[in-house]
Symmetry: C2
Subunit: 311 residues, 2 copies
């Protein structure tokens, strides 16, 4: 099968750190163009566009990876599908659930591949945790996602605006692991969202989940104010008495204290392999579940105000 | 076709005002039982249960209408489907989108009918507006839903709690008309939600919509502080220059100032006719679109604090 000819829309940190090197390091895709409103692109690449629509007009482009901020993804993806291109979306896949629903419908109608990526799902520890939890009942869940926003998002003011998601920007990675590994349907039952007095997006969030069965203790704690060790941990205790501990965002898995998976993260290698498979199979993978949990948390969450954020 | 034997779960205002008389007035359903935590039910009905699970155990019950507050609907609907009953849900259909998704999956797996009702959609003016807008482009939309919460929801404290939806409880009726009549996909682009200082749910909301095409002026204004004339109005101007005006919640429609539909509301008659058709056809109608717009508005909306609410 020949390599798919792909263009990247949006040449920010994630495109530079992950998408470009991973595309170049694999053989399923070949990077033929980049579009970026600043006109930036990787060295050595001929075709760099300021307007993504000029890139979409290329006859020899098969697919695009959309790496812009979420608020413009829908329009770009819609235009890409209209131009006959397969589409890979960075997380979260759109600004709203209604936008994502619309893209899913359009891709299906056009017989094109739409792939909503959740990079944290693409870790070996996550697959193994999912396998081990199948058919189990969970007694306790603790998702702990604590990082220092000053370190990971320096100068990114859009994350504090309404619609910028705030601490759910990293937190949704934990939720994407949750929806992949959890053996039952799971719902947000209550949430407390902490908004800095000078921001329109939360800096911390505490969620309580339910499976509707009762009895369980299922929680998540997201906090962007962690200046100690950074934590991206999920602990799951089953009713059978087993404890699974996914650490470092899903790349390490321990069971009852014994490490069973410890692989260096290869998230984007996994995502591009999957995107290639989906295109070859002529199908889509649209997973709205993590995004839906975020919307649910905003809809039913109680807001509290905390001290102003200063970078 | 014999009448479907139905039970009502939750015997509050909407059950008493609409469900019971409409079931009794039609011939598609016969009311055989009611469950209510207070043990209340209509005069003359033998089978009144305090625990809905006892009602679900009735062998001769075909379907249930769930008229409880939204936060307990998922568990009741899940149990009803597990007991082999068709399910009709009052609006909004669940506490969260994830709960609704789960119910849709369960109904489909069990080959049972799930019907998410949006009573405002069941007005003659709404169908006619939809018909007239097909294939049109809309230049301007103004949804105005202004009512006095003290008059319509006296003493209902749950509407002010987190997850109680606040002014979206009536506002979602306007959104349910919008998603039914609007000729294009439509998205929440921005929202301002006004929270009383002493409440965890909004008393007012201003939404700006987009179709992603630009140029349009699409807005909604929901306000629960209206002590003047109560307004449930939708005005739509097409690019072709026509103005549609849906008034009184969808029961009256004028086009360019001339009234074309003016029928007394018969919302629940329409809903029960539809529920009967769905059961007979062995299919479901799960429409999440209005609920998704609400979740989107909460997720991307900016919050402002307004004066405390006192009843």
């Amino acid at each position: 099968m020949r390599a798919h000819r792909i263009g990247i829309v949006g040449y920010g940190k994630i495109a530079q750190d992950q998408h470009v090197p991973v595309i170049k390091g694999g053989d399923a895709f070949v990077l033929v163009a980049v579009s970026s409103t600043r006109g930036a692109g990787p060295p050595g690449l001929d075709r760099i566009f300021r307007d993504y629509r000029d890139m979409l007009a290329m006859g020899d482009l098969d697919a695009v990876a959309i790496c812009t901020p979420p608020n413009v993804r829908h329009a770009i993806a819609r235009d890409a599908l209209a131009a006959g291109k397969h589409v890979m979306l960075e997380k979260p896949p759109a600004a709203t659930l209604s936008e994502l629903e619309d893209l899913a419908r359009r891709a299906s109608a056009a017989n094109l591949t739409l792939f909503t990526t959740w990079h944290s799902q693409a870790n070996a520890g996550v697959d193994e945790a999912r396998r081990r939890l199948q058919g189990q009942r969970v007694r306790r869940l603790a998702i702990t996602w604590r990082e220092d926003v000053r370190r990971w998002h320096p100068g990114q003011t859009w994350i504090w605006e309404a619609g910028g998601f705030g601490v759910f920007d990293p937190g949704i990675n934990g939720l994407s692991i949750l929806t992949k590994i959890f053996p039952d349907p799971i719902f947000v039952q209550a949430a407390t969202l902490s908004f800095p007095a000078n921001a329109d997006a939360p800096i911390a969030a505490d969620l309580v989940f339910s499976t509707g069965r009762g009895e369980e203790d299922l929680r998540a704690n997201f906090d962007w104010r962690e200046d100690g060790p950074q934590i991206w941990d999920i602990v799951v205790e089953t009713e059978a008495g087993q404890t699974l501990h996914l650490a470092e965002g899903g790349s390490r898995l321990s069971v009852d204290g014994r490490e069973v998976v410890a692989q260096p993260p290869a998230e984007y290698e996994g995502l591009y392999a999957r995107f290639g498979e989906l295109i070859n199979a002529g199908t889509s993978e649209v997973d709205a579940a993590p995004f839906r949990l975020v919307a649910d948390a905003f809809m039913i969450g109680r807001r509290v105000q905390v001290e102003p954020f200063t970078e």
